[in-house]
C-alpha cells in the first residue's frame, strides 16, 4: 500500500499554540514535522498572556508542558528564525524553500546560562514585553522559551553594527557564540502544509482619536497584559505608566480596530476582546479591589463556554462597570497637584523596573513609546478624558481615567497575505485564509491546511480545535506514508539491579561560573563522598554538555553505580537529559535524582556563598537519602484496540468517524435515532451560506458507503466496561432483530448467522471512544410558543426554508426574538449560534421577499468573527435591530387574528408594537445531560449539562479520562463549521492513541497494597482520572477474586499525582518515585546530619 509519491512529513508554519498542537498531533500519530517559526523560539501570543479566560488559568503554566514536549519531540524539527519563501509541487509532495536567519549562537553548545546577556552592553526593546521593557541584543525571548537557546539580534548587536564589542564570545563558558554563522536557505520535502502564522494586534498608533501616541497612559490590551503579568515589566504591579502612580480608574475601550470600517478597514469582530477585557478587569480588580474598572462596549460578546457566567461575575461579584457606548475619542488633561497629594506617585517597588524605565532614555533608541509625552513635572498628573453618551441617563458624560486600555483587535500580517497570494491560497474579503463550512481547516488549495486566527479571529480553544482538525486533514492526505519518516527511540536493555546494595554516584556541576562562583563545588563533592552508599563523586564544568554526558555514562558503567545524582540546575528542564544518560549506561532511568543548586542555590543566594554551599550539601544529602530508596520502575505496554466507537451520528459524529475511517481504522457509529444526521437534518444554511442539506447528504452517503464504517441506528448503550485501549461497549436495539428492518434500527446480532430473533444486542470491543451526542433546540415555554402556528423556533423556520414553505414569501412582516431560554437565570449560558442564525435567516427572508419588514429583537448581537459582516449586511438591507433587556422582555399577544409583539425601543425608550406574520424564537441549544453515558465513560458533566473537557483551553476535545474524546454540541453550542473542526480534532486526538498501537504507562504511578487496603473508596473519590477501582469478582469466574472490594490502580490511567496516596488513611497506596519512605527520608535527612 505504500505510496512513494507521498511524503510522510508535514510542515507547520508558525509556533504559536495552534501550530504547537497541530505539530504534536501529527508527530504523535506517525508523521515527521518541521515547525517553521520566524522568531527565535516558539510560544506565540499565548506565551505573552498573563492569564487565560474564562478560568483565569496562568497562561505560561498550562502552556509550558506543551512547549517542552515540542522541544523534546524526536519527530518535531524546530526551525526557528525562519520563514517560508516558496512552495513547489502539490498535495502529497511539496518542496518548501525556507530562509533561516543566522542565530550566531551554536544551539548544540548553548546551555542557556545567561552569562552572555548579563555582559551584553546593548539594550533593545523587548517585544515579548510589548516594548515596555528592555532586553539585550543577545537574548532568549522569555525565560521558559523553547528552544531555550540564546540568539543574537544582529540588527542591534554592537559587534555587527559597529564591529566592536565581542563580550558575549568572551563570556560564554560553553564557546557557543559564532559570529560567523550564516543565513541559510533550506528546502524541505513535505506532504502537507499547515499554516498557523497567527495574527498581529491592531496598532492604534497614528490614530489621534485614541490618544495612544500622545499619552503613555493609553495602552493596548497586549501591553496591559504584560503590565498585569508577574513576569512583565512591572512584576504584575499595575501603575499609571506616565508617572508610576497608583491608578484608581481604568477604562477599556472595546472594538479598537474591530467592527470598524471608518478608522480602519476591519469590519469583522475580533471575537476575543470582550472576554479578555473582562479577564483583565477582573485581574486588575483582584490586584486592587478598590480599583474602578469600566468597559465601554458595543455588544458584549461572551458566547463561549463559561464566558457568560464570567461576564456575570465580573458585573455582580467584581463590580466591574459595563457601559454600552462606542467612545469616539479621548484626550489628555493635565492637573496640577500639590505635594501632599503626590505621595502615591513613584511607588514602583522593584528597582529593576525603575531602571528599565530609565534605560528607555539612556539607550537613545527610537521606540514607539519614546515620543510619548511624559509628565516632566512631578506635580502634574495626567488623566485621560472620555466623553461618552450614557444611554441610561441619556446624557453626554465626561469622565477621567488614569489608564485607558485599547482592546485592540486581530489582523493578519501583510507578509502572511503576501505568502498566501504567492502560493495561490484564497483569502476572504477581510484577508483571512478562506475555508468552507464543511471543510473548515482546508484552504482553497489542496495540501494546505490552516488553523488559528489566520483562518478568522478566534480564541485559544478554537485555535486548538482547528489545530487538531488541520492535523487530521493533513495527516489523512498522507496516511499511506504514515510512520515512513518518523524516528523511534531504540529499546535498550537494562541491568537488573534488584537486591544490589545501593551504589550512588554524585556529580556536582559548576555550570561554568553559574554555580561555582557562589557555591564551593569541590566542598559539596567532598561532602557527598562522606554520605552513606555514595561510591563515586565528581564535578563537571557543564554536566549537560555532550562530553560530560558521555563521561558520566562511562563512570556509571565502570563503577557499577546503580543510583545517580546530579547537583546542577532544574529537573524540570534537565531531568530527562540525565535520565537518558543513565539509561544509556544500562540503568533504569527512575534511579536518578536531581539536585537544584543553581536555580534554587547560587542564583538566589549570591550574597551568601557559605550558606548556599551548606544548602547545597543539605540538598545533596537529602537526595542521597531518597535515592537509596529508589527502585527501578517499569513502564508497562498496553495494547490499544484499533477499533473506534463514535457515539452520535450527527454531523460531528459522522465527521469524526470519517476522519478515522479515512486513516484506515474501523469505526462503529452508534446512533440513537433510526437515521443519521442529527440536528443538521433540519438546518438550512451555514453562516458561510453553504447549503446544509447538500453537505449533509454528501457526508451521509460517504459514511454509509465507507468500507471502514459500521452504523448502528436505533441503538442504545447498555453497558460499558474497560478503559483506554480496551473498551467493551454493549449496545442494544430498540426492537428485536426481526422487527429491526421495519423500524429502521440496526439488526445487531445478524452479522454472523443472518437475521435471528431474540434480544437484539451486541458487544463492541474498541480502543477509543468519541462522544458526539449533540444537543437539541429548547422548546420554548414563553412568547406564546405553541399557541399560534405563526410562532416558530429557529430550527422550525429552517425547516420551512427547506420545504420552501409558501408562508415565508407571503409574510409581510417577520420578527425574531433572540436569547429565548439563553442567558437567563435558569440557563445562564449563551447559545452562541442563535444571533448568526437569525441574521442569516433574516437575510434569506429578505432575499425571498425584499419588501418584508424584518425586526430582530436582541440583547447583544453576537455575530463574532467575520459573521459580523452578515450583521452589517442585514442592517444595510433594512433589517431593523431593536435591543431589549432582560427586565423588559418583548410581549407577544394574539388578538383578532393578529400577532403582535410589543417591545420597548432602546433608542426611543418607548414601547412599540410590531404586527408580525412570522415570529421566530431563537431558542436555546440545550444539552441532553446524559448522566448515564457520563457514568459509563466516567466523564463529567457541567451544571448546564454539557460534557466537561479535560482543559478549557488546551484540551477542548479531550476528556480527563484517557481514550474518550468529545466534539460537537455535546461540548457546547457551536455552528457546523466549528463542529466539524472539533470532530476532526477529536479524531486527531484519538489518532494519537490509535497510531501508537501500544501505549506505555508512566513509571511514577500509584500502586495499592491490597493486604492493608480497607476498601473505603476515598481514592476513587479523589482521582480525576478514574485510575482506582475496587476489585469486583467476575460472576462468570465462579469464585471470589482475591482481595475483592479492595482498591487497585489501573496503571494506564494513573497520572502519578499522588492525591490518592495522601488521602489513603490505611497507607495502602504508594506513589512510586515519590513514596512516603522516600519523602520522609528526605525530611529526616534535611534536619539530621
Amino acid at each position: 500500500m505504500s505510496n512513494n509519491s507521498v511524503t510522510g512529513a508535514v510542515l507547520v508554519a508558525g509556533g504559536g499554540i495552534g501550530g504547537i498542537q497541530a505539530a504534536l498531533d501529527l508527530a504523535n500519530s506517525g508523521y515527521y514535522v518541521y515547525m517553521v517559526e520566524k522568531s527565535p523560539s516558539i510560544g506565540g501570543v499565548m506565551a505573552q498572556l498573563d492569564k487565560t479566560f474564562p478560568t483565569n488559568d496562568c497562561s505560561m503554566c498550562i502552556m509550558s508542558p506543551k512547549l517542552v514536549e515540542v522541544g523534546r519531540h524526536i519527530n518535531i524539527e524546530l526551525i526557528t528564525l525562519a520563514e517560508i519563501k516558496d512552495v513547489r509541487g502539490g498535495q502529497g509532495s511539496f518542496e518548501v524553500d525556507v530562509f533561516q536567519k543566522a542565530r550566531y549562537v551554536d544551539m548544540t553548545k548553548c546551555i542557556a546560562c545567561g552569562a552572555c546577556a548579563e555582559k551584553c552592553p546593548k539594550k533593545v526593546d523587548d517585544l515579548y514585553n510589548a516594548g515596555l521593557a528592555k532586553r539585550k541584543a543577545i537574548y532568549v525571548p522569555y525565560p521558559q522559551a523553547v528552544p531555550l537557546k540564546y540568539a543574537i539580534d544582529a540588527d542591534n548587536c554592537i559587534r555587527f553594527t559597529k564591529g566592536k564589542c565581542g563580550n558575549c564570545e568572551k563570556t560564554c563558558p560553553a564557546g557557543a557564540i559564532n559570529y560567523n554563522d550564516k543565513d541559510k536557505n533550506l528546502t524541505l520535502k513535505v506532504g502537507s502544509i499547515i499554516l498557523a502564522p497567527g495574527f498581529n494586534t491592531y496598532n492604534p498608533s497614528g490614530k489621534a482619536i485614541y490618544n495612544y501616541d500622545a499619552s503613555k497612559d493609553v495602552v493596548t490590551s497586549i501591553e496591559f497584559e504584560r503590565y498585569l503579568s508577574a513576569s512583565g515589566p512591572n512584576q504584575g504591579h499595575v501603575t499609571r505608566p506616565s508617572d508610576n502612580a497608583h491608578p484608581h480608574k481604568i477604562a477599556w475601550l472595546q472594538c479598537v480596530g474591530s467592527r470598524d470600517i471608518n478608522t480602519c478597514g476591519n469590519g469583522y469582530c475580533s471575537s476575543v476582546c470582550c472576554m479578555y477585557a473582562i479577564k483583565q478587569a477582573i485581574i486588575a480588580k483582584e490586584h486592587d479591589p478598590s480599583l474602578e474598572c469600566t468597559v465601554f462596549y458595543m455588544d458584549m460578546r461572551t458566547h463561549g463556554k463559561g464566558f457568560e457566567s464570567c461576564y456575570n461575575e465580573a458585573k455582580d461579584k467584581h463590580g466591574i462597570k459595563f457601559v454600552r457606548c462606542k467612545v469616539h475619542s479621548l484626550f489628555t488633561q493635565e492637573e496640577k497637584i500639590n505635594n501632599q497629594e503626590n505621595l502615591d506617585i513613584g511607588s514602583v517597588e522593584d528597582k529593576d523596573a525603575v531602571e528599565g524605565k530609565k534605560s528607555v532614555e539612556d539607550s537613545g533608541e527610537q521606540s514607539a513609546k519614546k515620543s510619548k509625552k511624559e509628565s516632566k513635572n512631578k506635580n502634574i498628573k495626567q488623566y485621560q478624558v472620555l466623553n461618552y453618551f450614557d444611554e441610561e441617563s441619556g446624557k453626554v458624560v465626561t469622565d477621567l481615567y488614569d489608564i485607558v486600555v485599547l482592546s485592540v483587535g486581530m489582523e493578519i500580517s501583510p507578509e502572511t497575505k503576501a505568502l498566501a497570494e504567492k502560493i495561490g491560497i484564497g483569502l476572504t474579503d477581510s484577508g483571512f485564509i478562506k475555508t468552507s463550512s464543511f471543510d473548515p481547516v482546508a484552504t482553497t488549495k489542496d495540501g494546505f491546511y490552516v488553523c488559528g486566527a489566520v483562518q478568522g479571529t478566534k480564541d485559544i480553544p478554537q485555535s486548538v480545535v482547528e489545530a487538531g482538525g488541520a492535523a487530521m486533514r493533513a495527516g489523512t492526505a498522507l496516511a499511506a506514508a504514515r510512520n515512513t519518516l518518523t524516528k523511534t527511540t531504540p529499546e535498550r536493555t537494562e541491568i537488573d539491579i534488584k537486591g544490589e546494595r545501593p551504589r550512588v554516584g554524585v556529580f556536582v556541576c559548576h555550570c561554568g561560573s553559574n554555580i561555582a562562583s557562589i557555591i564551593d563545588v569541590a566542598a559539596v563533592r567532598d561532602y557527598a563522598a562522606t554520605l552513606p552508599y555514595v561510591e563515586y563523586v565528581a564535578t563537571n564544568m557543564y554536566s549537560c554538555s555532550q562530553d560530560a554526558q558521555d563521561g558520566i555514562a562511562n563512570i556509571v558503567k565502570e563503577k557499577q553505580l546503580n543510583r545517580m545524582i546530579v547537583a546542577a540546575c532544574s529537573p524540570r528542564t534537565h531531568e530527562p537529559l540525565f535520565q537518558e544518560t543513565l539509561l544509556s549506561a544500562g540503568i533504569n532511568k527512575y534511579l536518578f535524582e536531581m539536585v537544584n543548586i543553581r536555580n534554587h542555590g547560587s542564583w538566589v543566594h549570591k550574597d551568601y556563598p557559605l550558606e548556599a554551599t551548606q544548602k547545597a550539601k543539605d540538598l545533596v544529602r537529602m537526595a542521597v537519602a531518597k535515592s537509596v530508596q529508589l527502585e527501578p520502575l517499569a513502564e508497562a505496554d498496553l495494547n490499544i484496540d484499533q477499533n473506534v466507537v463514535v457515539i452520535g451520528g450527527g454531523i460531528s459524529g459522522m465527521t469524526a468517524a470519517k476522519s478515522l475511517a479515512d486513516q484506515g481504522y474501523k469505526v462503529n457509529i452508534i446512533e440513537q435515532n433510526t437515521s443519521l444526521g442529527g440536528q443538521a437534518k433540519n438546518l438550512y444554511q451555514t453562516a458561510g451560506r453553504a447549503m446544509i442539506q447538500e453537505g449533509l447528504g454528501n457526508l451521509t452517503s460517504q459514511i454509509t458507503s465507507h468500507e471502514n464504517i459500521t452504523v448502528f441506528t436505533g441503538a442504545e448503550i447498555e453497558d460499558v466496561e474497560g478503559f483506554v485501549g480496551n473498551f467493551k461497549t454493549t449496545i442494544s436495539s430498540c426492537c428485536d432483530s426481526s422487527a429491526a428492518s421495519k423500524c429502521g434500527c440496526s439488526s445487531l446480532n445478524s452479522d454472523k448467522d443472518g437475521a435471528t430473533s431474540g434480544t437484539n444486542s451486541k458487544t463492541i470491543e474498541h480502543g477509543v471512544t468519541i462522544i458526539a451526542t449533540g444537543a437539541s433546540e429548547l422548546k420554548p415555554t414563553e412568547y406564546m410558543y405553541g399557541k399560534d402556528k405563526r410562532i416558530v423556533t429557529g430550527i422550525e423556520l429552517d425547516k420551512m426554508f427547506i420545504n420552501n414553505d409558501p408562508a415565508l414569501t407571503a409574510a409581510k412582516s417577520a420578527v425574531f426574538i433572540q436569547c429565548v431560554g439563553s442567558r437567563e437565570l435558569q440557563r445562564p449560558y449563551c447559545s452562541r449560534i442563535c444571533c448568526s442564525h437569525s441574521v442569516i435567516s433574516a437575510l434569506h427572508l429578505k432575499e425571498k421577499n425584499p419588501d418584508m419588514n424584518i425586526f430582530i429583537l436582541y440583547r447583544d448581537i453576537r455575530t463574532y468573527g467575520e459573521k459580523e459582516l452578515l450583521y452589517k449586511e442585514a442592517r444595510e438591507k433594512g433589517i431593523i435591530f431593536i435591543r431589549y433587556d432582560l427586565a423588559n422582555k418583548p410581549e407577544v399577544s394574539v388578538g383578532d387574528g393578529k400577532l403582535n409583539i410589543k417591545v420597548i425601543d432602546h433608542v426611543l425608550k418607548m414601547p412599540i408594537v410590531i404586527e408580525a406574520d412570522l415570529l421566530t424564537l431563537a431558542s436555546a441549544v440545550v444539552p441532553y445531560k446524559d448522566e448515564k453515558l457520563a457514568q459509563f465513560f466516567k466523564v463529567p458533566l457541567n451544571e448546564d449539562g454539557f460534557f466537561v473537557e479535560a482543559h478549557v483551553k488546551l484540551a477542548p476535545s479531550d476528556f480527563a479520562t484517557d481514550g474518550v474524546f468529545l466534539c460537537g454540541l455535546a461540548h457546547y453550542p457551536k455552528p457546523i463549521d466549528e463542529s466539524i473542526a472539533q470532530a476532526q480534532a477529536a479524531a486527531s486526538s484519538a489518532l494519537r492513541l490509535l497510531s501508537k498501537k501500544t501505549i506505555k504507562t508512566q513509571g511514577t504511578i500509584a500502586e495499592v497494597n491490597q493486604t492493608i487496603c480497607s476498601g473505603c473508596g476515598v481514592c476513587l473519590s479523589v482521582c480525576p482520572y478514574n485510575a482506582p477501582s475496587l476489585r469486583v469478582s467476575n460472576q462468570n469466574e465462579g469464585r471470589p477474586k482475591p482481595h475483592e472490594g479492595k482498591a487497585e490502580i489501573n496503571p494506564v490511567l494513573c497520572k502519578g499525582c499522588g492525591a490518592c496516596v495522601s488521602s489513603c488513611r490505611s497507607g495502602a497506596l504508594k506513589l512510586k518515585g515519590f513514596d512516603d519512605g522516600q519523602l520522609l527520608a528526605m525530611i529526616e535527612s534535611a534536619m539530621n546530619f
Binding site: T1011, G1015, C1016, G1017, R1065, S1066, G1067, D1076
Partner: protein, 331 residues
C-alpha cells in the same frame, strides 16, 4: 427546690419505664427479624456483669432474644461491631450509631442491603465515670431544670457528647422501636457556641498553654488503643502507628509519639467523626480524646457546613472539594 427532687424521682421512674419498653420492643423486633429471616444475626446490648455496665452481644437464635436489653449505659457504638461483616445483620442503633452506619455504607464497609437497622430514639447515655465523680443522683442542678424537656437524665450525669447531640433519633433505620424523641433545634451559632464549647475554651488559651494542656492530658495515656478500637471509623487493616516501612511513629511512650498517635488518629477521623463518644467511653484513663476530634468536627462544620453521617448521598469533606472553598490561609 423540693419540686426538683420529686421531679428527679419522676425522671428516674420514667427512665426505668422507658428502658423496659425499649427492651421489650427490641426483643420483639429481634425475634421477628430472625424468624422472618430478615437478618441472620442481631447485634444489640446485653446486661453487664456489674451495674452501669452493658456488653455488646450477638444474637443468632430467636430463642436468645431475651438477652437483649436497653438502658442508659449502652455507650459503645454498635456500628463498630457491624463493619466488615458479610452476613445479613440487624443492628440496634441509636442516633450516633446510625450516623456511623451511614459512614460505613458510604465507605463501603457494609452494604445497605445487608443491614437491618432497629432504630432507637436515644435519651442519652450516662457517663461511665459518673460514680467515680460522686454521682449527683437525686441532687438537682439548674442545668437539669433547663433541659427537662430534652433529656430525662440529669445533664451532669450525661456523657459529654450526649449533652449536645444533634441526632438522637437514627438518621436511617428499617424500623423504629418507639416514637422519635424530640430533637433540639439548633441554630448555627448555637452549635458553634455550645457543641464546641470545650474546643472554644482551648482555642482561647495561649499557644504554649495549649501545647502543655494536651501534653498533660495525654500524660496518662498508655497507648492501649481502646479509643481507636472502640471507634467505628478505625477499620484500617494496619493502623499507621503499626506501619514499619517507614516506621515514622515510635512505639514507646515518648510523649511526642503518643501525641502524634492522637493527632493523626483524630485527623483520620476528620469529617467522619459523629461525636458518638465511644472513644472516651472506652478510655480506661478517662482521657478527653474527643477534644481532638471535636476540633476537626468544628472546622468541618464551620468551613464546609458538614456534619458526618447525616446523609448517604455525600462523601466526607476530605474526599470532595468545592471550587470556592476558603483559602484565606493560603498566600
Amino acid at each position: 427546690m423540693t419540686m426538683n427532687i420529686n421531679q428527679s424521682d419522676i425522671n428516674k421512674k420514667q427512665i426505668d419505664i422507658i428502658n423496659q419498653q425499649y427492651t421489650e420492643k427490641i426483643r420483639e423486633a429481634a425475634k421477628r427479624i430472625l424468624l422472618e429471616k430478615k437478618a441472620d444475626v442481631v447485634i444489640g446490648f446485653k446486661n453487664g456483669t456489674e451495674p452501669m455496665k452493658t456488653e455488646p452481644c450477638l444474637i443468632t437464635k430467636a430463642s436468645d432474644v431475651d438477652k437483649l436489653i436497653w438502658n442508659e449505659h449502652c455507650r459503645l457504638n454498635l456500628a463498630n461491631y457491624v463493619k466488615g461483616r458479610k452476613d445479613k445483620v440487624a443492628v440496634v442503633a441509636k442516633g450516633c450509631d446510625s450516623r456511623n452506619l451511614v459512614n460505613h455504607i458510604i465507605e463501603k464497609q457494609i452494604k445497605r442491603e445487608n443491614l437491618y437497622i432497629i432504630g432507637v430514639p436515644c435519651n442519652g447515655m450516662v457517663d461511665k465515670f459518673v460514680n467515680v465523680k460522686e454521682s449527683k443522683v437525686g441532687v438537682e442542678s439548674e442545668t437539669m431544670q433547663k433541659n427537662l424537656d430534652v433529656f430525662l437524665i440529669d445533664r451532669d450525669m450525661l456523657q459529654d457528647n450526649c449533652k449536645t447531640c444533634i441526632s438522637r433519633n437514627p438518621v436511617i433505620f428499617d424500623e423504629m422501636i418507639a416514637e422519635p424523641v424530640k430533637e433540639r433545634v439548633w441554630t448555627k451559632e448555637e452549635k458553634l457556641k455550645e457543641r464546641f464549647e470545650s474546643v472554644n475554651k482551648i482555642e482561647a488559651m495561649a499557644e504554649s498553654d495549649r501545647w502543655s494542656f494536651f501534653n498533660d492530658m495525654l500524660s496518662s495515656c498508655t497507648r492501649c488503643y481502646a479509643c481507636r478500637n472502640a471507634c467505628s471509623l478505625c477499620y484500617c487493616p494496619t493502623c499507621f502507628v503499626d506501619e514499619s516501612r517507614p516506621q515514622w511513629v515510635g512505639k514507646g511512650v515518648d510523649p511526642v509519639d503518643v501525641r502524634t498517635y492522637h493527632f493523626l488518629r483524630a485527623f483520620h477521623c476528620a469529617g467522619r467523626c459523629t461525636d458518638c463518644g465511644a472513644c472516651e467511653a472506652a478510655c480506661p484513663m478517662n482521657i478527653k480524646v474527643r477534644l481532638f476530634t471535636k476540633k476537626l468536627d468544628k472546622e468541618c462544620f464551620e468551613s464546609f457546613g458538614w456534619e458526618a453521617g447525616m446523609s448517604l448521598d455525600e462523601r466526607p469533606p476530605l474526599d470532595v472539594y468545592k471550587v470556592n472553598d476558603s483559602e484565606n490561609f493560603i498566600r
